[in-house]
């Protein structure tokens, strides 16, 4: 490949970094939420479930707008940024991570919750009658049995973070090395008629999406076989 701009790969690495960090945070934050949604008997839990699922139906620009308000100089994000002398968390990598976590939350929480739901009460009751504390039962029974849900959640969360555009534009902007991610880079190349570069990145994305979907389907099949 000749004459490729030297910084064409920077957005790729940035995107992978963002998606990886977001996925890890989502697994840590999303698992207790999914657990609570699956196990709680509170009547209002479906309300919380709906809030978590909101990004599925909201236009990313709407979500991005509210996040911008939240993170801007006059919002809590501004107060937070003041702690280290900044003006705002928007237009920073950290802000982007925060936005991605919110945006990709349902894609991680939903599969994990479904997996916890599918386990039912019985294995946990069995564990309790075998002297396992709730924490031990969670780690040694619920998590291993929900493994396909965790895999699906991680894959979907990662993929959605890679693909987001609207929110990035709203809260991330287009700062190379900091917030200029893959989807924004493609948009940029198209804007400036650099079709070949756009093609390379877009083609890579398409291949990536295919691999993700294929992995998902194979996981599904494996799970179905195990459950049978």
């Amino acid at each position: 490949m000749t004459n490729l701009p030297p910084d064409i790969w920077q957005p790729v690495w940035l995107t992978i970094e963002l998606a990886a960090i977001t996925t890890v945070i989502l697994l840590i934050v999303g698992t207790p939420i999914a657990w609570w949604l699956a196990r709680s008997k509170a009547w209002w839990k479906e309300g919380i479930a709906a809030v978590v699922a909101l990004p599925l139906v909201l236009p990313p620009t709407v979500l991005g707008f509210y996040l911008l308000v939240l993170m801007g100089p006059d919002g809590p994000g501004g107060a937070l940024a003041a702690l280290w002398g900044g003006r705002t968390v928007a237009f920073t990598f950290g802000g982007l991570v925060f936005g991605s976590v919110i945006y990709s939350m349902p894609f991680v929480v939903q599969p994990i919750r479904n997996a916890f739901d599918a386990i039912g009460d019985r294995p946990l009751e069995v564990a309790a009658t075998l002297r396992a504390s709730p924490l031990k039962a969670f780690w040694t029974v619920a998590v291993p049995l929900a493994r396909p849900g965790f895999l699906a959640g991680a894959v979907l969360g990662f993929a959605h973070t890679v693909g987001e555009f609207g929110i990035v534009l709203m809260i991330g902007g287009n700062i190379p090395g900091s917030t200029k991610v893959l989807s924004v880079a493609i948009y940029d190349y198209v804007e400036t008629s650099q079709w070949r570069e756009a093609n390379i990145l877009a083609g890579g994305m398409a291949a990536f999406a295919f691999v993700v979907i294929l992995t998902m389907m194979m996981l599904e099949k494996r799970t179905a076989r195990i459950r049978a």
Partner: protein, 373 residues
Amino acid sequence: MRALSPPTIRAAFRGQLGGFKLDAAFTVPATGITGLFGPSGCGKSSVLRCLAGLQHLPASSCEVSGEVWQDDTTFLKPHHRPIGYVFQEASLFQHLSVRANLLYGAPHESVKTHADAVEFDEVIELLGLAKLLERSPRNLSGGERQRVAIGRALLSQPKLLLMDEPLSALDRLTKDEILPFLERLHARLSLPVIYVSHDITEIERLADHLVLMQAGKVLAVGPLAELQSDPKLPLAIARDAAVNFDAEVESYDSNYGLVTLQIDGGRLLVPSAPVASGELRRVRIAASDVSLARELPQASSILNAVAARIVTTSPVGANEMLVVLALGREGHGGRLLARLSRRSWDLLRLAEGVDVYAQIKGVALAPGRDGHA
């Protein structure tokens, strides 16, 4: 430790459970197998769940061998109760091997405590699990799964084993395969067991004590034979009514293939494979297999005619009589049931207090508890 009074299980569970009201209180000895028997949906499984702490009914209490598990101020969570629980479906952990399932609740080697701890090898041998250890629960038959579940519960070193219809999800053949294992457990381990079932044949083979339940309430509590022979309870009135005796082998006649059994108040001759003297066996005598005679029958093909005294009698339907007998010439022995036609009753001029001979047409001998029969 209250060493003097024998340990007991005292339970009283009250509350609304779904569609029905549970109000069950009973005290049973913390030894042997206590059957919790009643029709489906009478609340016996709920009682077991309450004993395990899986269900929390306020205003209830539960005390096992002097330890309070639940009262007005206490409620031990299930994982703090020294129980083993066997569910109707084996509910093995699908992601673990049979060995890992068995060891899931086992205390670590370093904490292995009391001398009467259940040993891994002993459980494997008792339940015939040696060949299954490295397999996945997915590839086991229903009977194998349930045996693993029982072994898993035992290896958690419980002080009380709770079994919730452990055989009812299995077919007849598999049931017959597992019952001997349970009988061996009973004979070998000193662990108290509460065994829920709606199948009287399981209760008859296993239980020492019985809690009879109906519509969320306890109908009667007592030793198995006592409740079986109480004409006021549904067991004795049932068409397949029977009583069980724990019998001791006195001798074996290899010439005729007959074993002489000593029961409370008499002796029985029963066809059997060879057995050693002194062995304990359980026999079952159905009420419909017992007929009465005024005198010792002289010429009869029936092997067993035991002296007995009529204790009480009650009509069943229009034309039958249910007779409760006390074995022995003075009527000091165990209770036996007989079902007669009203005509025979009148012809023989039978009455309460009359001495008779009980002719026993059939005695069912449970397979050996050591598993060699």
